[in-house]
């Protein structure tokens, strides 16, 4: 179905045009006026239009090697736009100066995400990825508090190192395959390919915050403003996940076993480390940061399972199922994690601890209920989207006979219940333990409640994965 009568090539890049144009528009307006409301509204409209044009496209095959427009890519593009949409209005709350810059940055970051989504070429992907990174370095330190600047600096330095790793990995990859186009890979030489694998896992692993490369994430999510943390832990992370999905599912076809071993070790370490560290954490943002490390661990189980299925010669149907589980996880993850970070906006204190949300249950029941739903989802309790996501992921592991990995994952998930429920139990304490103000403004509650509602809807419609499954065919041929 075509929305507007435009030529095919224009229709395909329409989402990016909306976002990019709005970014420059805000910069231009910002020279004359400084109105947060106007900027956020323009951003919101542009993102919404972009989302609409992503979803309602016909996706006729467009010739060209640099960009690929297909439903699989569009799915991730939509997710990434949603993650930006979610922080658009909440970000306004703590912005005091140069709001035009912040919102144009947000739009340019989204533009980078879109470009990275709609390509199967590694160089284009890398450039877009860097565009996103640079934008988010600035956003992390935008509020110029001491903590935010420290967070931004840490993020920047580790980000720079990871860029180096990615570049080296790309060079080796080219040496091994003779191409940057992931869909046209023919392996020439194995040793450089293995080297490329190691470098690329480390490089992109930094952004996904998997175990040995995660420490920046804890400090950065902790130090940045809440909506920036939300964007970093959803959009930026899912972007890295998507790139890895394309890279390791399509780009390393004959390396099944090495990929499997690498990722299995990383996944186990990441989940376990994230969950165990979160157990003793009493600062809320750090707790959520550790939980998002653990969630990254669940996500990279996808790669283990795909690689295992590949080198055991299982049919493409299995691999498609696993990838679909990963895609579903990404979708649900942005709502539960983004919403959880945004819920912290209500606490009138920087760096809140567990005791600061005590009494939220009585002071702001709607917010407490929504936050509770999101935490339940992160813990994977049925009738929330978190259960849907985890259940299909674990099921796909069992499906390829990786039962022991599923046991480890599910025990991890059971451990995680402990710290999420600790937060909930603080929330519903009868007597507040500290005098921190808990805001009941609509602007805080609405995004969180919306996220919670979507999470519940995705939990009730348990079989949503069968809706996603057809998209995978565009990544992994069946």
């Amino acid at each position: 179905m075509t929305l507007i009568a435009v030529p095919g090539w224009l229709e395909s890049i329409l989402p990016m045009i909306f976002v990019g144009f709005a970014g420059f528009l805000i910069l231009a307006i910002g020279m004359k006026v400084d109105s947060g409301k106007a900027f956020s509204s323009i951003t919101f409209v542009a993102l919404a239009l972009s989302l609409v044009s992503v979803v309602w496209q016909s996706y006729d095959p467009v010739a060209g090697s640099l960009v690929t427009f297909n439903p699989f890519n569009a799915y991730f593009a939509a997710i990434l736009i949603i993650s930006s949409l979610f922080v658009t209005f909440p970000a306004l709350r703590n912005l005091t100066e140069r709001r035009d810059i912040f919102y144009s940055l947000l739009l340019f970051v989204t533009l980078g995400m879109l470009v990275a989504s709609f390509t199967m070429n590694l160089v284009v992907m890398f450039v877009a990825f860097e565009a996103v990174s640079i934008g988010t370095y600035v956003m992390a330190g935008f509020h110029k508090t001491r903590r935010a600047l420290e967070a931004s600096a840490k993020y920047f330095f580790t980000g720079a190192v990871s860029t180096g790793f990615i570049v080296i990995g790309l060079s080796y990859y080219f040496q091994a395959t003779g191409t940057f186009d992931l869909t046209a890979v023919t392996i020439v030489s194995r040793i450089p390919l293995l080297t490329a694998l190691a470098f690329l896992i480390i490089g992109f692993g930094f952004k996904l915050a998997i175990f040995p490369m995660h420490q920046w994430a804890i400090d950065t999510y902790d130090g940045s403003e809440n909506s920036v943390s939300a964007l970093l832990s959803t959009g930026s992370k899912i972007l890295a996940f998507m790139i890895m999905l394309k890279l390791f599912v399509v780009g390393f076809p004959l390396l099944g076993q090495s990929v499997f071993i690498f990722f299995t070790i990383l996944a186990i370490l990441t989940m376990t480390y994230g969950n165990i560290s979160a157990l003793s954490e009493t600062r809320l943002k750090r707790l959520l940061a550790y939980s998002s490390v653990a969630q990254a661990g669940y996500m990279i189980l996808v790669f283990s399972a795909v690689a295992y299925a590949q080198y055991n010669g299982m049919s493409a149907g299995y691999i498609q199922f696993i990838v679909a589980a990963g895609m579903l996880y990404s979708l649900i993850y942005i709502f539960m994690k983004g919403g959880a970070f945004l819920a912290l906006n209500s606490i009138g204190k920087e760096n809140p601890g567990l005791e600061d949300i005590s009494g939220m249950g009585t002071r702001s029941p709607a917010l407490a209920l929504s936050f509770t739903v999101l935490l339940l989802a992160l813990a994977g309790i049925p009738l929330t989207g978190g259960f849907t996501a985890k259940a299909w992921l674990f099921l796909s592991l069992i499906n390829v006979k990786l039962w022991w990995l599923a046991v480890i994952a599910i025990l991890n998930s059971a451990i995680s219940v402990f710290y999420y429920f600790r937060v909930i139990s603080y929330m519903y304490r009868k007597e507040p333990l500290s005098g921190v103000i808990i805001s009941t403004e609509k602007s805080v509650i609405v995004p969180v409640a919306l996220a919670a509602a979507i999470v519940v809807a995705l939990g009730i419609y348990f079989y949503v994965i069968y809706f996603i499954l057809p998209f995978v065919g565009f990544l992994v041929g069946g």
Partner: protein
């Protein structure tokens, strides 16, 4: 169809209860009684001439292409359990009227009942699991928000403990699902498909053990039996009385349902060694809980252990029944186990309701603080005594039927190990009697001041439950034949 309607109605009632504000208590009471009436009527209708298998099955296709159904149904076992659940919840809501609770409390209670109904009627494995896990959430909040001292940590312990058990159940369900696909090339979560003998017998040994271990650990945590029981005494103790009644009477059905409703269909998966281990666990927990109960100072905690103790019988019946494979003993011991689950739910609810009234009227529920309350409150004491006698298995009351059938049926399978079971029954009987003697009879503890006896309406409600126990005790055959035809249908 009507079953799905009852379930939907219950869910709607529980959601509306949250919004009814100060009318919520009356609304929840009326709603739960309405559900009781509907369930009872429905069962009378469909259970006529029941002869094994599933009745009242209703499937709504969610996705025809992938064979996904929202399917519900009951059988000769889950039907009576549904009735027991429908009896327990109005009872617990009734006693909550004596204290001040808000709309959230009643909403959560009704939500717990919804989840429990969902567990019992689901005929789709994933639906079953979703409700199984979902029940924990309202109960967690009930303990967290309304519990006594130490509620934060106890609520957490309750949830984490049972959640770990549930997680293993999920893995086992997935293994069944994945293996069914690799055998037949069809994805299905239908319970009837996943537990059909021709499929179950094809599962290779490793996956067999994996599935059995996952499901059994999950169900044994919920039941609970000896090494998995740590959540139980604290939760029963810290939860407010209405919630204790709901957990002890309602949620305890779930573990038993897991064994007899699901595992029985997979009985060919059990190696002999595992069955002997189960027998061992059940005997250890029978004795362990009886001995532990003896040393409790609070009657609430003592009854919590008594409740766990009766679950040892359930597990024994289950293991012994599978060992028998078929024949008269098979039917007898399995039906006895199912009867025990049902009788336990009603008896333990009556006991906790009674203890609640003792606490309400006398102001304490410790053994030392009470004494001789028969003098002041004869009706309350008599009903309490009735409950205790039923709980220790006095002939003529409901508790006896189950225990006797289990003893009689399992002798052939487990031989002289039965002496340990009888030994535990003696201990159980002695601490029940001893407790009655210390609290209800003997010299009156003058520190208590005057105690008011039960009022007329209270008398009527409690008396009705006691009469139900008596009726089940002297006239068990309708239920017994239902259970027996259900067990016979499994072979």
């Amino acid at each position: 169809m009507f079953l799905a309607f009852i379930f939907g109605l219950l869910f709607a009632i529980s959601l509306v209860t949250f919004l009814t504000g100060r009318y919520s208590s009356r609304f929840a009471m009326a709603g739960s009684v309405l559900i009781l009436v509907l369930v009872a009527g429905y069962l009378l209708e469909v259970m006529q001439g029941y002869s094994g298998g599933i009745t009242g099955k209703y499937s709504y296709p969610l996705n025809a292409e992938y064979q996904i159904f929202f399917s519900v149904g009951i059988n000769g076992f889950t039907g009576p359990l549904l009735l027991a659940a429908a009896i327990v919840f109005p009872l617990s809501i009734y006693i909550s009227l004596k204290e001040k609770y808000d709309g959230k409390f009643y909403g959560l209670m009704m939500l717990a009942e919804t989840g429990l109904f969902g567990v019992l009627i689901s005929r789709d494995m994933i639906l079953f699991y979703i409700f199984w896990e979902f029940v924990l959430v309202p109960v967690f909040f009930l303990i967290l928000m309304y519990g006594g001292e130490g509620r934060n940590s106890v609520a957490l312990k309750f949830f984490v403990y049972t959640h770990i058990g549930s997680a293993l159940i999920l893995l086992a369900i997935f293994s069944l699902y994945a293996y069914y696909f690799s055998v037949y090339g069809i994805y299905t979560m239908q319970m009837s498909a996943l537990t059909q003998p021709s499929f179950v017998s094809q599962i290779p040994l490793f996956w067999e053990l994996f599935i059995v271990a996952g499901l059994m650990i999950g169900f044994l945590v919920k039941l609970p039996v000896f090494p998995f029981h740590a959540w139980l005494p604290d939760s029963y103790d810290v939860a407010p009385y209405p919630v204790t009644v709901a957990i002890a009477g309602g949620l305890s059905l779930m573990g038993g349902y897991g064994l007899f409703g699901i595992m029985l269909g997979l009985k060919s998966l059990f190696p002999a060694l595992v069955l002997w281990i189960l027998v061992g666990i059940s005997i250890v927990s029978l004795i362990y809980f009886a001995l532990t109960a003896m040393f409790q100072t609070s009657i609430k905690r003592m009854m919590a252990y008594a409740s766990a103790g009766s679950m040892g019988f359930v597990l024994l019946a289950f293991a012994a029944g599978i060992m028998e494979e078929s024949g008269v003993e098979y039917n007898l011991v399995l039906s006895g186990g199912m009867f025990q689950i049902l009788a336990h739910a009603i008896i333990i609810s009556l006991l906790f309701v009674n203890i609640f009234f003792i606490k309400l009227k006398a102001g304490t529920d410790t053994l030392g603080g009470l004494g001789g309350i028969y003098r002041e409150a004869p009706v309350l004491s008599t009903i309490m005594l009735g409950g205790l006698l039923a709980s220790l298995g006095l002939p003529g009351l409901a508790g006896f039927i189950g225990e006797f059938s289990i003893l009689g049926g399992s002798f052939q399978a487990i031989g002289y190990l039965i002496f340990f079971v009888i030994f535990s029954m003696i201990i159980t009987a002695s601490y029940h009697i001893w407790m009655a003697q210390r609290t209800l009879y003997g010299p009156y503890n003058e520190h208590l001041g005057g105690i008011r006896d039960l009022s007329r309406p209270e008398m009527a409600v409690l008396g009705a439950v006691l009469i139900l126990i008596l009726v089940l005790g002297v006239f068990p055959s309708p239920l017994f034949s239902l259970f027996s035809s259900y067990a016979g249908g499994i072979i």
